[in-house]
Amino acid sequence: MTVTDELITSESFDRLLAEAKALSRREEGREITLKCEPAEIVRLAGVFRDDPELRFSFLSDIVYVDHYGQPGNGARFELIYRAYNLDDYRRIHIRVPVPDGQSVDSVAGIWPAANWYEREAFDLMGFRFANHPDPRRILLPSAFAGHPLRKDFPIGGEEVQFSVNWGEIEPQETMLDQCFEGMTWKEYVERGDDIETEAGASPLRKWAEEDRMIINMGPQHPSTHGVLRLALALEGETVLDAACDIGFLHTGIEKSAEQLMFQQALTLTDRMDYAGPLGDNLAYVLSVEKLLGIEVPPRAQALRVMLAELTRIASHLLFLGTHALELGAVSVFLYCFQDREQILDIFELASGVRLMTSYINIGGLRDDIPEGFSAKVREFLEYLPPKLVEYHALLTRNPIWLERTRGVGVISVEDGIRMGVSGANIRGSGLKWDVRKAWPYSGYENYDFEIPTGSNGDVYDRYLVRMEEMRQSLRIVRQALDNLPGGDYRISDYKIVLPPRDRLAVSMEAVIHHFLVASRGFDVPAGDAYVSTESARGEMGFHVVSHGGPKPWRMKMRPPSFATLQALPKMVTGGMLADVVATVGSIDIILGEVDR
């Protein structure tokens, strides 16, 4: 709900703020949108965070959009700050139109989580943030030329050397040389991890100057969950300071999505959070459906919930296994993988694919569940609980496990909120915030389940919270299965979903619909939408911007791991080297999602 379309400037600040406050007191003001000019954003953010009536202390994300060449927008760029009040679950969207070339004041002093969000906006779209504490690139190499998410950034077209055209095409190395300002590609590679020049480690420069040992964990380290690079300053085995270096897995998913039709971009979402692909499917699909203004049938809702919860269990099992592996309990790793296989079997049964299912589609599901699906899920519901008891017996009271996890990697609720930590990680600290309860989607309000919370915010509590979440997810799956409605598994608007296969043989209209949807897609009304969901890792959502037409103009995701990772240095500083491994495991990050 928009307060007013009027721009908040220094003159209209007090008046419009009073309006916004008045609105936020009412029930329909749970979600409000403001427009603010760049010069006033820090002042506005400060008021919204600190005013006792507002208390928007959690910055969920900063969305950055390039409206290049689109009529009707005064400024070329737009920033959308999305902040939450986590006491009574209110949301605010602050939209800031930014003309080309203008710098914006950094809000990192108000919401520390903005540090990485703003670095990302600078890296990928070239926003300049005044007074930013750490203005470096974050996902792309520090010597990368240009900002690829700008609409005028040249894409593709580089010819590739093959044997037929070897002599005609510039060798790749020559092309690479042009990418690094002032040095050749070889020089760039060979300077190695010189602390003075390497982007990720430069916060640790002062330690290097004091002759402390700087150690690089990753990106090829066995336990950084993919390709995270951590630079640690050590005194003996005690961690003095830490810095994350990410982007090794950056594949430009957001840029790729802009080149694809809405239903095609869905397949990219699988590839982000590869441990919980259906959760990301769901988050994306919900945003697009909100833009389209469609409501999916109850059967699809229930199945979506069931699949999302199974995904959560699969992801938590993966967490448990790798976490235990990192603490040296190798066997648990294999047990968990065996259990996870059961869930992948269920996915395979439903969609034919084990991992990148793309099963949840815009408008419902890709296909109805096959025969035997319910029986298989029921079998799993019986299968898992004894296994969980076994894991509790192996780990929960194991003295070594307790020593390794209790009081390690602690983060308080306040720090977690400041850094944008969400999901099981912040619940482990004691904040009872779960998007499924706070802003229910897909009919989660109809299910009976608890939100487990810890109290210490250490590795052990995060572990216990996830263990319990698996049980709660089983509860939800059971309820969804028991009350599975009949009816259609998707909407019947064949301008959006493909007509049934058997209709193609008998209906010309179906053929036309099929052809149109498959070849040119469907138009999505102009506007933007964001739906937050609770993925296995925390608050996950897609901010989808459309300017009409079959392709998303901009798809900005809110990856929970990205925000959580930002808090990692705070968690590990002061601990031991071995605690770093335990902590990285316990926050359950997926680098595919962090780097996209």
């Binding site: 336990s223 066997s331 020593e403 109290s455 080297l577 071995a578």
Partner: protein
């Protein structure tokens, strides 16, 4: 004693036999470890090379030997070169004093089934097993790799700390048997009619736990903690030099197991023990039982943290070993003749108390007090909630 050429030949043959046997136990042990761990982890384990995958260690060894031997830039080449040998040699020669049988009569000669019956056997073992740490420290230091260095530092601290409880744990059996010779200690166990594990259970437990640390085995495998230090001190090693470290670890494991067998489990003694040919068999059976225990623990427990490991060594194991030594010495001084029965009773009481205490503790900690979460109440049931 006049110099006897036959004695020399016998000694060489014995040394060779033990050397070869030790080196061939290692592949068997590796195979067994992989199979047992696979079984614990619900996998199949090696089953391609040879029947039941028995040739897998051999295939691995051949693969390793044919790999390129990489020397890192900036490595201290001489030290880097010799470190694997420094780690391997003490591991092998420690075995010289371990008896694997009584006296055999071959061609009218008495042959001790032991390479050398040294009358200070235990001191010899302790001295040599401390030397092994040099190989690891030097490897870690000379690799010019920070992870290796950390691994080397960890292992030196760990092995030196655990030497103490390990050595002190062995003093108890020495007091009971009145000898430092391993052969004499086996005989003492024969005379007493009870293995020293019974009167010296505490010492046995301390010895075994310290043994895990001495051999860098899980849960004390910090020097090579894969998830923390990539591969620790041998990160930069490849080819045969890596194989040497790998083998040294297993030989060490065999040695620790063999010493435990000899001192606490009656060595080669067993039913029909007077049949000489059976004695090495009994020895091997006991040895492999202990090795199985090593593997079992590895498949079950998570790894300790460095500082906790030190705490365990200095604040728990060392006092326990001292306590055991004190009690044993007191009993031995007051009742020299009936020391073993008295100690056996004491140790049984200790075990009983331990079992009861553990039961009470585990019953008490059903609730994890630090957090709002509770343990599962019944099989598969969702547990009750307190918010």
């Amino acid at each position: 004693m006049p110099f006897d050429v036959t004695e020399l030949v016998i000694a060489i043959v014995k040394a060779l036999v033990v050397f070869v046997a030790l080196l061939s136990i290692v592949p068997v042990l590796i195979w067994m470890e992989r199979k047992v761990i696979a079984d614990i982890q619900i996998r199949i384990g090696p089953n391609r090379a040879g029947p039941f995958g028995l040739l897998q260690p051999l295939a691995d060894a051949i693969k390793l030997i044919f790999k390129e031997n990489i020397i890192t830039q900036g490595a201290d080449k001489v030290v880097y070169f010799f470190a694997p040998a420094v780690s391997m040699v003490p591991a092998i020669i420690t075995f010289a004093v371990v008896p694997f049988g009584d006296t055999a009569h071959i061609l009218g000669r008495k042959v001790l089934l032991q390479v050398a019956d040294v009358n200070i056997g235990i001191l010899y073992i302790l001295a040599l097993s401390s030397l092994g740490v040099y190989g690891i420290v030097l490897a870690g230091w000379s690799s010019n790799n920070k992870y290796s260095l950390l691994g080397g530092v960890r292992s030196s601290a760990q092995m030196i700390s655990y030497e103490l409880p390990l050595g002190l744990a062995l003093v108890g059996p020495v007091l009971l048997s009145g000898s430092l010779s391993l052969r004499e200690m086996i005989n003492a166990q024969g005379r007493a009619g009870v293995w020293f594990i019974v009167p010296q259970f505490l010492a046995f437990a301390v010895y075994l736990i310290s043994g895990f640390a001495e051999t860098n085995r899980a849960p004390f495998d910090l020097p090579e903690a894969e998830q923390e230090l990539t591969a620790g001190y041998h990160t930069e090693y490849s080819s045969f030099r890596f194989a040497l470290f790998y083998m040294a670890e297993y030989v060490n494991m065999v040695t620790v197991g063999a010493v435990a067998t000899t001192i606490f489990l009656g060595g080669w003694r067993g039913p029909f023990g007077n049949i000489v040919i059976l004695q090495p068999v009994w020895f091997l059976v006991k040895l492999f039982a202990i090795l199985y225990f090593f593997i079992w623990v590895r498949g079950t427990l998570p790894r300790l943290r460095y500082d906790k490991l030190m705490k365990l060594g200095w604040k728990v194991l060392l006092p326990l070993a001292l306590l055991n030594l004190m009690v044993t010495a007191t009993v031995k001084a007051l009742a020299p003749q009936s020391a073993i029965p008295i100690m056996s009773v004491l140790s049984l009481v200790l075990v009983a108390i331990g079992v009861i205490a553990l039961t009470i503790i585990s019953a008490r900690s059903t609730r994890t007090p630090a957090s709002g979460l509770r343990e599962p109440s019944a099989e598969g049931a969702f547990y009750t909630w307190e918010s």
